[in-house]
Amino acid sequence: MLLKLIRFLRGYVEFYILGKFPERFINLMLKNNIRIWNTKRKGEAIYSCMYMSDYIKIKKHAKKCKCKTRIVQRYGMPKFIRRHSARLGVIIGIAIFTLAIYIMSSFIWSIDIVGIDRVSYSRVSSLLADNGFYVGAFKPKMNYSEITRKVMLSESEIGWMAINVSGTYASVEIKEKANPPKLNDTTSPCNVKAKCDGEIVSINTLKGEAYITAGSGVVKDQLLVSGVINDQLGGISLVHANAEIIAKTTHDCNFTLPKSYTQVNYKDQTKHRKRVNILNLEFPLTISGVDSPYYAVNQKEDCISLFDTPLPVSIVDESVNALDKISFELDEKTAQKIFTTKVYLYELFALNTCKVSDRDFSIKQSADKYECEVKYSTTEDISYTQKIIADDFTIERKIEKPTERE
């Protein structure tokens, strides 16, 4: 196949040899490194093929052997060009087409990312683009292993990644890291401490030695239940202290709102414009805009595919919405409404572990802003555990065996 292609590109002739010593002529061809093939004897003449460029050289050898050569037919690209030399446009067109196919095949036309669950598609594609791997990227310049390494270093959630390029289509395969589940530590020695100031309402010690009682006041990080227990023999043992400690606590929060502010609203004016995206080049199909300095753009991109093969051509449909900037003056009633919503959201998210028993809500206003101050009285579990860090030496020293005298 390759040989046929080379012969076609170089151009060859079918010719016949007629004369006294045609065998000698063949041997002379071989000695002079002139290739001949498909040699056939038909009657007196020997028919054979050789490259067009070699045929010019053989006349003197034919004379030596007292032979005559005649061309039967010409084949190949030079003959085609000569025949169609008058139709220059066709030849140029073929050349441009061949060149276009060659050039276009050296770009990435479409990228498919598979295997992502936690990491977003846009995050991976933007990381790939930052490292030079995007639709329209020049393939020969790319170092896929380097791109893979850099993307994996940038995104810690990716455990394994590979870029497979077949032709102009690239498939990025990703395996995300498997994070170990959080295990509840119920064995290692620890103390129970207070996570905020408060007054103890009830204490239910499951393990450990309690240092407080109901009604006592505690400060933040105070030891409530100790995991170090003195045993009857005078030694100590370390346990995983566990207790449910409900305490009365207070929480404060402040919100502010400016008296005058600007708001951006949608106008009824919407315009559509389209553009075609070829590899990384964008050409507008329609030109339109809105009469407003502020606008929002929604973009929708449709990739064109031919027989399920995505092409590097996409049509981008943009809808441009005009925006209007309106300045408002905030009255007290509206401010109160907004503050009520904010307080509700604060209780819902920030105080979701507390039981709100009372709240003190006060709004103050100054020259340019409204201020809201909320004081909460809550009851909540204020315990948190902190690991006891003790080296072996300390424990051995403290745990002393009773002597015979004792």
Partner: protein
């Protein structure tokens, strides 16, 4: 049995004499000759090839020289007889 087969396939056991031409037949339809020095006679029924040490004559029907280079050639057709002349 398997050992015997392996022995037969061992190339190191075979000895080559590079002064002699090498002939590779595909039935009686095609023959590849390596070590040829030129074509002495060529007709549809008879081809005589000169080699370093002998002249090989192929007799048959519709014999063609399919491919010729300075040291090798391929003959195809219906080969009926091969003759070696020292």
């Amino acid at each position: 049995m398997a050992k015997e087969k392996n022995k037969k396939l061992k190339i190191s056991d075979m000895s080559f004499d590079y002064s002699l031409p090498e002939l590779q037949f595909s039935g009686n339809k095609e023959v590849v000759i390596e070590g040829s020095r030129g074509v002495l006679e060529y007709s549809q029924d008879k081809i005589r090839i000169n080699t370093n040490s002998m002249v090989i004559t192929f007799c048959g029907r519709n014999l063609n020289l399919r491919c010729i280079s300075s040291s090798a050639l391929i003959i195809d057709g219906f080969i009926l007889n091969v003759e070696f002349t020292l």
